[in-house]
Amino acid sequence: MKILAHLRLLLQITRTHDIARRYFVTNGFDGTLTMLGLTLGFRLSNEVPMEVALSASLGATIALGMSGLSSAYISEAAERKKELRELEEAMLSTLDDSAHARAAQLVPILIALVNSLTPVLLALIIMLPMWATHWGVALPASPLDLAIILAFVLIFLMGVFLGRIGGGFWLWSGLKTLAIAAITSLLILILEI
């Protein structure tokens, strides 16, 4: 509890809790749409063996995670260092032993983890039907179709989450993100034909 309270304080003094939430949504959306595109591509080609689809999806998931981790860490670490330096200049003293210095070190790691783990987790959820088929579990429909449905559901839920943050009507917000997924799918369908 003490660690959690300390982490909350660090996020609070750097005012980064909303940044972490933003990263959660943007990279989560990135990851889900990427997986939707990938799965739709496999579905349309009709001839991709499940092992290949799984390997490609896993590869994309790892790349999404690493991209999220490195990009967020590099940019956030630079931002936090800059802010700490400016604050030290304003305070006319070093802040080495302060929560601000600890925040400058820890907050980029926290944000990088959020930015990295969100798309990985969502991609793994989308891949669940493919894993199930791979492990011999009988499914009521094609694993790729189920993966596509899961991607749509997750995208809708992200919209609902955004709607709740913004204080708007959750269904409307969910339908908006669902429309983005539908347009993406339509574009893929048109280009694949």
Binding site: Q12, I13, R15, L87, M91, L92, S98
Partner: protein
Amino acid sequence: MSTVRRLVLDVLKPHQPNALEFAQAIARLGDGYRVRLNVEEVDEKTESTIIVIESNSLDLSKIEETIQSMGGSLHSIDEVEVWGSTSNTL
């Protein structure tokens, strides 16, 4: 032996943690700590504050440590109230 009963400190602090969180962190240092924090001046990144702390026994080093850990800087001790006692001499 003497005990510090009241301190008035001139402290420069960053905007975050805010005045309430800052005062709460100091108040948590001991039972019966009463803290009053007045923001005297607000700059782009800092706030000049006057913090009045009262208790039956104040520990200045702990207070200083807490102020520092919250990113603040103690500029001066503007007022002190110390109670003496002959029961235990130092």
